[in-house]
Structure formats: C-alpha cells, structure tokens
C-alpha cells in the first residue's frame, strides 16, 4: 500500500508564506492500527489512498502519515476506536477562493485571503467547486461542478505573520525596511454538498 503523506495544498503561486501558520488537524492516529489489522480485507478491495493536505512551506511531504481508510465490515472489536470519531464522509473538493485553489476536506480549516464583510461565525458557501472526489467516484467540473457547494464557517479574521520587506541598493545609500502583515481569514469547512447529480467518473 502506498504510504500516505501529508502534502501542501494551501497556496498557489501567490502567497506561499502563509503556509507555516496553518496546522494540520490530525485525525485519530489510532486508525493506523485499524488499517494494519484489516490488511487482509484491504487486499480484496483496494481503496484509493486518502488525501491529507499538509500545510507547510515546501512541497516535500512531511513525515506524518495518516490513514483514513474505514473498514468495509464493521464487526471487528477494534472498530470502537474508529466509531468514537464523528461520522465524517470521505470526500474532498477543490475549491477556488480568492483566485487560489485549495483542496478541502470537511472538518479542516484553510487560510484564505481576507474576505471582506465576513464576521466571525458567519456561514459561507463557496460556489466555485472545480472537482469533487469521493471514495468511489470523481466529479470533474468543466470548469465547475454544477450545483456543488462547499459550506464553511468563518473562524477568524487575522493578520498573517510579519514579513520584512527590505530593499537595498548597494553603493547608493538606499535602504528601506518595511514590515508587512497580510490580512487573512481562517475558515473551517463544514460540508461539501450538491454534487450528486453531475456527470461522474466511477473509479475502480
């Protein structure tokens, strides 16, 4: 089974500096026991490795490996550990916010550019959904998946970490030292809906 790794997914070419602030909310790591105990079942029905975004500066995957595969049959006693985690559907979406694309999971947060007129604890719907993927099928949008929406709640309107913009020209006695904090918004994704009746590609 391919080893899962966290990967960065939170910024496009524009502002990669925001990545370090985001933290990955680790799902229950005891699921690793689950996958190893049910390895015999796993071979019968290969599932796609579940995609876990890593929020750090570089694209190199970090060392944390998480497995989110749920067992197909729920009769083993080890299932109790997994049941403690709230029922989360295994779906991801690619959404475009602030002219940047993010890979989004329900229950995690992302940092986006500051959304004006959005107060804390506001419900937000993101309409520009480019791709939705579940365990069994993928809905690819051209360019967007019709009727798909991602619901989110604004958690925090904050400023990013300070970046020192230092301009210097040699031999010309020109130095400018400027600090910059970019306004950002942290939103937590609650659910991904509305993608059911779109042309889908069923996966093996």
């Amino acid at each position: 089974m391919a080893s899962l790794s966290l990967c960065s997914s939170l910024s496009t070419t524009s502002t990669l500096s925001q990545n370090h602030k985001s933290t990955v909310r680790a799902f229950k790591t005891n699921l690793n026991f689950l996958s190893s105990s049910n390895s015999s079942i796993r071979l019968a029905s290969p599932k796609q490795p579940f995609f876990v975004p890593k929020l750090s500066q570089t694209e190199a995957p970090s060392t944390l490996a998480e497995s989110e595969i749920e067992p197909t049959t729920e009769i083993q006693p080890t299932v109790e550990i997994a049941e403690a985690e709230p029922k989360r559907e295994e779906v991801f979406a690619v959404v475009m916010v602030g002219s940047r694309q993010y890979i989004v999971f329900p229950g995690r947060f992302i940092y986006t550019q500051r959304l004006k007129d959005a107060n804390v604890n506001d419900k937000i719907t993101l309409n520009k959904v480019l791709l939705v993927g579940t365990k069994t099928s993928t809905y690819i949008g051209k360019p967007i998946v019709p009727n798909a929406t991602v619901h989110a709640v604004v958690e925090e309107q904050a400023l990013d970490k300070k970046v020192i913009v230092f301009k210097y020209k040699k031999k010309k006695n020109y130095r400018r030292n400027i600090g910059h904090r970019q306004p950002i918004t942290r939103i937590r994704i609650t659910s991904i809906t509305g993608y059911q009746d779109s042309p889908a590609v069923t996966l093996p």
Binding site: T13, Q101, L130, L203
Partner: protein
C-alpha cells in the same frame, strides 16, 4: 533598539556574524535581500516542481505533460498545477480519470507498454 533586532535576525549565522554587530549587520542585510528575492523565486520554483510531478504522473499513463495540459485546456478544466500535482500524488484514481479525459480530448499519445525486462528480471 536596532542592534537587538539585528542579533535576533542573526541567529544561526556562522562565526562572528551572529555575535559582532558590524559583521552581523552586513550579513543580516544580505539575508533580508535574499529573502526578498527568494519570495519571488519560490513561486517560480514551486511551479516547476509541480510541472515535474504532473509530468511524472501522466507519463505513467502514457501521456506527456504537454499533451495532458492541452487536453485539459480543450475541455475547459481549470485546475491549476498545484492541485494537479497534489492529486497526482495522493489520488491516483482521480488523476487517472483526468488523464483519460485529456487523452480523449487530444489524442496522439502512444499507449503504455510494459518495460522490457532484461537479464535476471526475465525470470521473475
């Protein structure tokens, strides 16, 4: 006090550059210049990395990067390279679906043939 800030930024520098103000100031200024320049370079580097990864992913399915992107553009799929590289790494089935869409939209790639085994590998 500026000296204090300079020493704070000079942590981890080599030799006297972290302790002596005259040398530290020079090194810190250079470091800040590099960071200014590299914030712009990072965007270029990352895009190149994504393209390499997408290329590797699509060549596994017999399509090269240029034809793959052409096919996506024809189908008006607006996923950017960052997301495509992530999908190619972690969601192989979704990525295969994308490659198939692109192949249908823009044919002209030879099918993947299993690599010829030479030497001892023939026994396997």
């Amino acid at each position: 006090m500026n000296k204090k800030e300079v020493f704070k930024l000079a942590k981890g520098f080599r030799g006297r550059a972290k302790n002596c103000i005259r040398i530290a100031r020079e090194r810190v200024e250079k470091a800040l210049q590099y960071s200014y320049r590299d914030r712009r370079n990072k965007k270029r580097d990352m895009r190149g990395l994504w393209i390499q990864r997408i290329n590797a992913g699509t060549r596994q399915h017999g399509v090269n990067y240029g034809n793959f992107m052409h096919g996506l553009m024809k189908e008006n799929i607006q996923l950017n390279r960052k997301v495509l590289s992530e999908i190619s790494m972690h969601e192989p089935y979704s990525f295969k679906a994308l490659v198939d869409i692109s192949r249908n939209a823009f044919p002209g790639n030879k099918t993947v043939a299993p690599p010829k085994k030479e030497g001892l590998a023939i026994l396997v």
